[in-house]
Subunit: 310 residues, 3 copies
């Protein structure tokens, strides 16, 4: 991998992805080996939108590599309130840090910002756009639990607005996975995403469903996402849909014993707590995988983008 | 001491307390010896309620041990706003950290949270519940200034709602202290706390007063707490009470020369600034003692709870 | 330099300033040499007002020296809300840190606070008062780009309320600079500042202008500041003035090729983006210079103020 910035998971080939996942696995197996690797290096955190787990896991990743962070803090306490442009903000903060992580509500913000800075920049979510490190940790979790070869995955919930889901689907299309998309009709995958997926050369197989029943037994992985109340103009419609797309022990009766259940978290009630202690549940492990995966990404970017490497 | 979590000071025996205080004293005497002791370790900070000194002093303690922190930040910028349960939040964040510190407005929150995690968890306040590291630093300050043997202490102010005061009273009851409780009638110690204290086997002596005059000369330590305006439906009543339970040079005319005045801070006007530079004043020292005491606690928990110790 | 606190740039002689700038230049040339210099030391950050770049650059500076920070956080989440005095707050926090940085909305706050603490305290802005580290980085940027000897500088924009500008003007008056002040009449330099500057022994030359045209060709440095909308009762008047005091390629047609354009940032539209990539632009470099300059300041204060230096 030789990239100065990490903006979208589309920029990464299957080989790139495997390189990152291999590096993450190495780090996961022996974190002590990299514990001082980036001592003295600083990661600038620019979160223009609230985030707990993404921000904390980037921070943890950088500190587990021996480095440290400088955090812009919330927008309320920043110069942004004084009308500063994003281009100015990143150009100032690149003077403090060896790499930057940016989350911003506007699609395309990370790409634009990356054109103004010389240090590596990681997109940690740009509105409806991309969030490549999330995709990487999803792929890592799938690989660890079910393998990425000959995979049958069900992706369920809000497939219309879910940035996470689109990125994952694109990434999996490099791996010849059979992808089943399960959602109420009003939250189906956007037609252009379906079209794009069909165009992928890898020959990934795609099917859409409005119920999980028919596909559940064939699944290696079930990836659940939250259905957001605010997407529905009508509360009754929401209640009905939310109830149907909820996973509990009863739902999983017909599942394979080897099924892996994932969720990008936070969940509200898409997955019943009774699943938490079963062998199906991989969502907390998935969240924890953010650390080795982001360590691998930061390590590779700091190596390729850094000036004072040996 | 062999505890995986620190939830309440009630779980600690007199021997436990003395072990922590001895360790804190050792660290205080030679902080350089432990300056790298937990290098590479991360402490997760989960403060669901505002806090300055508790949070900063845990952070300082961890950094003075060579470690670092990852901070969930304010609830406004976290997943909690999206409806995530505390159980989910702590299970995600334990993936980032080697130990957790939790403050939460609900009584029992720390106990509940501790049942979901494998890393050591410290309760830094759970509503009207416990705040054991505060009690430890209070005991440490008393021991350094007046000794815990044959102690006569006056505890004054809001004894009804003060979590700090109840925990301290319970802890002192292990040390045979003579405890004088001084408060307006409406802010007396709850009857169940009085009852509990009488039941303690140590045979601590308890007396309640509505004025400081009669007991002041006999006191080794006077522990002052704030009387909160919002406890009084009537502003006039507040004014009268607040005035009477305020300490100044005149109040202390009959005190022993060796009297130690403590306060958990922040104060508003319970102690006049003219006391600050006298030998009585130990409240800033008390706040500073939060660092060695929390260093001792974290050190002991990371040792017993940590996996990668030699 | 032998100071326990850094409160105002007025306290610094020309020799002091040169000592700091020389140290900053040394650090800038070889940051690796000081990368572990203050390992184990903690800098307490007390920002009672929002700040991005000042806070982040102090934090970066401390971390680039091998140290770390403990941050009071926003006032909303602090004891200040409970009515604690500044004197109490700093006395508590000095127990956590080896030095303090304070920003506070009230003029004189830093001076007052410094009288209560034993660790070195740096004023990072006290309302309409002082912000000496900003002045230092301004001087450093001028010295690197144009030299401080035989300097002709234009200072433009809001000269009435601009704390930055007053401090810089005082500091430059030690260096015999020719200072041109360019502003609309309603935002002229306060008469007492003009008077003070005339009294300086250095014999600095001062001129006031309401347009940049006549002085532009002679300038080595043009220091632009923002004109704040809220200063004008009348929106039309603001629009007219703001338009006239804006710098773009056309404005600079008559400038010297060696002109250096500076701005304390954030800017809104005082400098057109088309200037950013020209050789004139030094404002991002200026922001970045905050790091070596603050490293030099912290290094000197921690050396002189620290107790546990060898």
């Amino acid at each position: 991998m030789r990239h100065d910035h990490l903006i979208t998971s589309k920029q990464l080939s299957r080989e790139d992805v495997e390189l990152v996942l291999d590096r993450a696995a190495e780090i996961d197996a022996d974190p002590e080996r990299v514990a001082d690797r980036h001592a003295g290096r600083l990661l600038g955190l620019l979160f223009f939108e609230p985030s707990t787990r993404t921000k904390m896991s980037f921070e943890t990743a950088m500190k587990r590599l021996g480095g440290d962070v400088v955090d812009m803090g919330s927008i309320e306490s920043s110069s942004v309130k004084k009308g500063e442009t994003l281009a100015d903000t990143v150009r100032v903060i690149e003077g403090y840090a060896d790499a930057l992580v940016l989350r911003h509500p506007q699609q395309g913000a990370a790409k634009m910002a990356s054109e103004y800075v010389d240090v590596p920049l990681v997109n940690a979510g740009d509105g409806a756009g991309h969030h490549p490190s999330q995709t990487m940790l999803d792929l890592y979790t799938i690989r660890e639990n079910a393998g990425l070869e000959d995979l049958t995955i069900g992706i369920m919930g809000d497939l219309k607005y879910g940035r996470t889901v689109h990125s994952l689907a694109y990434a999996l299309s490099n791996f010849d996975a059979r992808q089943h998309f399960i959602s109420p009709e009003s939250l189906q995958l956007p037609r252009e995403v379906v079209y794009d997926l069909h165009q992928q050369q890898g020959g990934t197989q795609i099917r859409e469903h409005d119920s999980i029943e028919e596909v559940l037994p064939s699944l290696d992985v079930l990836y659940v996402t939250r259905i957001q109340r605010e997407r529905f103009p009508d509360e009754n419609e929401y209640q009905q849909v939310a109830g149907e797309y909820q996973i509990d022990a009863k739902t999983l009766e017909d599942a394979s014993d080897d099924l892996t259940v994932m969720h990008p978290l936070p969940r509200v009630d898409e997955i019943a707590p009774e699943i938490d202690d079963t062998d199906y549940a991989a969502y907390f492990e998935q969240a924890h995988n953010g650390v080795p995966v982001r360590m691998a990404l930061l390590d590779m970017l700091l190596e390729s983008g850094g000036e004072n490497d040996e």
